[in-house]
């Protein structure tokens, strides 16, 4: 009985997820065609005016632009199922190879960002909640407000200029180092962008933590525990924090999902060859297959992260687990 419910719910989710991904595929396909210009004009600029019709036709067939739109769409979709995500003429690499290089960068950035924002946000939230409306609450609130209000591009540009001026160093000016090649340099290059992003993401995490802790503290079982004389620290850790984990996890999962496609500006400023830039350059060069497949990959990650978050509740929250 139980397994059947779980099964059907998982199947339903998978079907919905597939439907969603198909929708994303259609949307990105249409949107790209609606943006003026194609790969030929993107590559040749105004020089494409000097191309003869035969030259233009040769280029269109080279890029597969001479096919009817429906054929383009379904051959792309069909190729996806065979594992062929398309080819980037610009990079002379397949989209799969490109993504294998760029996705880890963004995922690493997102992971470091999330860790930093949890380290910053959760304690700050608990601190704030420990004495609402006090000075320390005020401090926490102000930090959170700053995080919510200062745009990342402003903070990012200023931080980098400041570090280069006063420290005389700019790890991000060096060639990008992969985590596997040169972990030290890689971490140096990641820490500033992740810090800038984390400053913003810590804010909602802090607020979530604060509200959750306040909510739970008002619950009966905490009062009971207090009355029974359970040590304060134990209440804080064992009872309150474990219960607060669910909303914190939700928030963290959502933020992580958005970071995968939302760190473009920071990738741009700090020259990180992540997946956001892959999309950006793809749009710029009108490399349709690159953009389509990459957006789809981001969407897949997003859906997966959300599924994982949901599953994580079941581990964390006894009540959900009992269901």
């Amino acid at each position: 009985m139980l397994t059947r419910i779980v099964h059907s719910s998982i199947t339903r989710r998978l079907v919905t997820a597939l439907g969603t991904l198909f929708g994303v595929a259609v949307l990105v396909f249409i949107m790209l065609r609606a943006i003026p210009g194609d790969q030929v004009t993107a590559q040749f600029g105004i020089e494409s005016g000097a191309l003869t019709p035969a030259q233009r036709a040769a280029l269109e067939s080279y890029y597969g632009l001479d096919q009817p739109l429906l054929v383009q769409f379904f051959s792309w979709l069909g190729n996806l199922f065979t594992g062929n995500l398309g080819f980037s003429a610009r990079a002379h690499l397949s989209v799969a190879e490109l993504t294998a290089q760029s996705l880890p960068v963004t995922v690493e950035l997102a992971v470091i960002t999330i860790v930093l924002s949890l380290v910053l946000g959760v304690p700050l939230g608990m601190l704030s909640a420990s004495k609402p409306n006090s000075a320390r609450d005020g401090l926490g609130q102000v930090v959170a407000l700053a995080g919510l209000s200062i745009p990342a591009f402003l903070l990012g540009s200023s931080v980098m200029a400041w570090v280069a001026t006063f420290w005389g160093q700019n790890p991000n000016g060096q060639a990008f180092a992969r985590l596997t090649d040169n972990p030290m340099l890689n971490l140096q290059q990641m820490i500033l962008p992740a810090g800038v992003l984390a400053f913003g993401i810590a804010a909602p995490i802090m607020r979530t933590t604060r509200t959750a802790v306040l909510d739970i503290r008002a619950k009966d079982f905490i009062r009971t525990a207090r009355a029974k004389g359970v040590p304060k620290a134990r209440i804080q850790m064992r009872h309150i924090l474990t219960n607060a984990l669910v909303p914190i996890t939700t928030m963290t999962g959502l933020q992580f999902g958005y970071l995968l496609g939302g760190a473009i500006v920071i990738e741009q400023i700090f020259s990180l060859p992540g997946i956001g830039r892959q999309v950006l350059v793809g749009i710029e060069q009108k490399e349709y297959a690159v953009v389509q497949s990459t957006i789809l990959i981001i969407a897949v990650c997003f859906v997966l992260v959300n599924l994982l978050t949901d599953m994580l509740y079941r581990v964390i929250d006894p009540r959900v687990r009992a269901l």
Binding site: R13, G147, A152, T208, A212, I216, M251, G261, I283
Partner: protein, 334 residues
């Protein structure tokens, strides 16, 4: 089926996305869990348990009662005054009037925030920029609130195919990286402030669908709505008379939160070169244009930067205040 699941505690305030990632504001429930029943993590079904008090005449007093709300109101009011002054032409300079003789001058008594590379008055441009940025944010949020709420209500009320299609579209929009969505939309059309607003609105509409659909699912099951349905009242009449009024506070809270995000999103788009086109100033595009000037004329960047952060702070504080005012539980807790 009545939906009041024994949910684990959720933040009773919808927590916004960060300002750092100008992504979309958080939906109050995970995206991968669509389907007719809100998952147990949703706090929204709480809302209609008792029909909400509407934001009445004492709303303003309520907002002022919280320190955050009061501070936010003051900041927003001051900035609003600046907008008014700019819109009514009370400022000494016009935002777009170029004066080659006073290029790149620092702040002075004549030009309070200095001048830019065309000799335009930065103060006047910041003021006009606030007008434009706020206008874009307002239109974007109004549009998404309207469309999102209607779609959310329809989905929740009619269920079935309507719900399936609305939820399907919502899921797709959610899974699409928000900044890229806005970016693509903004580059499809000839750019003006309105298309930028629409691009942002499309990104934010799903939020409003999400936050309204859940409550409607439970509202349609409560006694007086059932009674109305049994009495054969027109579906639209029920929606407008019984359901929408009960969603007011949820929507208002979401609107105040979305405003500050919309301002930041516009700025991010401008930073990528896709915001409000010149010569009309917006805070984001002013910062973008001033980036290369920052070394020799820092005021061209600092002025719009500071005002933008202030505006967002004000809107955030005001949002907090509004939420406190509309959510008694939250208020007592402070």
């Amino acid at each position: 089926m009545t939906v009041t699941p024994p949910g684990p505690p959720m933040p009773s305030r919808p927590v916004p996305a960060s300002g750092a990632v100008p992504s979309r504001p958080m939906p109050s429930q995970p995206v991968s869990a669509p389907g007719p029943v809100p998952p147990p993590t949703s706090d929204t079904p709480k809302a209609p348990a008792k029909p909400r008090r509407r934001a009445g005449t004492n709303g303003l007093r309520q907002i002022l009662r919280s320190r955050a709300g009061a501070a936010g109101l003051v900041i927003v009011a001051l900035i609003g005054l600046l907008c008014l002054a700019s819109a009514c032409g009370w400022l000494p300079f016009e935002p777009n009037t170029q004066d080659p003789l006073v290029r790149l001058q620092g702040p002075s008594q004549t030009h309070w925030f200095g001048t830019d590379r065309f000799g335009r008055d930065v103060f006047a441009r910041v003021a006009a920029g606030v007008v434009n940025s706020s206008l874009i944010a307002l239109v974007a949020v109004a549009f998404s609130a309207l469309v999102g709420t209607l779609a959310g209500v329809a989905a929740g009320f009619f269920r079935g195919a309507t719900d399936a299609s609305v939820s399907g579209v919502t899921n797709v929009l959610f899974a699409f990286p928000p900044l890229l969505l806005a970016l693509a939309l903004a580059s499809v059309f000839t750019r003006n402030w309105f298309t930028v607003a629409v691009a942002i609105a499309v990104v934010y509409t799903p939020i409003f669908i999400r936050v309204t659909r859940g409550p409607v699912l439970s509202l349609r099951e409560i006694e007086f709505v059932r009674a109305a349905r049994a009495a054969g009242r027109n579906a639209f009449a029920i929606m407008f008379h019984h359901i929408l009024p009960n969603l007011t506070s949820i929507v208002i809270v979401q609107v105040t939160l979305s405003l500050s995000w919309a301002v930041l999103t516009e700025a991010s788009l401008s930073f990528l070169g896709l915001g409000t086109p010149p010569p009309a100033p917006s805070l984001g595009s002013m910062i973008y244009e001033a980036r290369t000037l920052a070394a020799i004329a820092p005021w061209t960047m600092i002025a719009p930067g500071v005002v933008m952060v202030l505006l967002v702070v004000g809107l955030n504080l005001l949002g907090d205040g509004v939420r406190d005012a509309l959510d008694p539980q939250e208020r007592t807790r402070r």
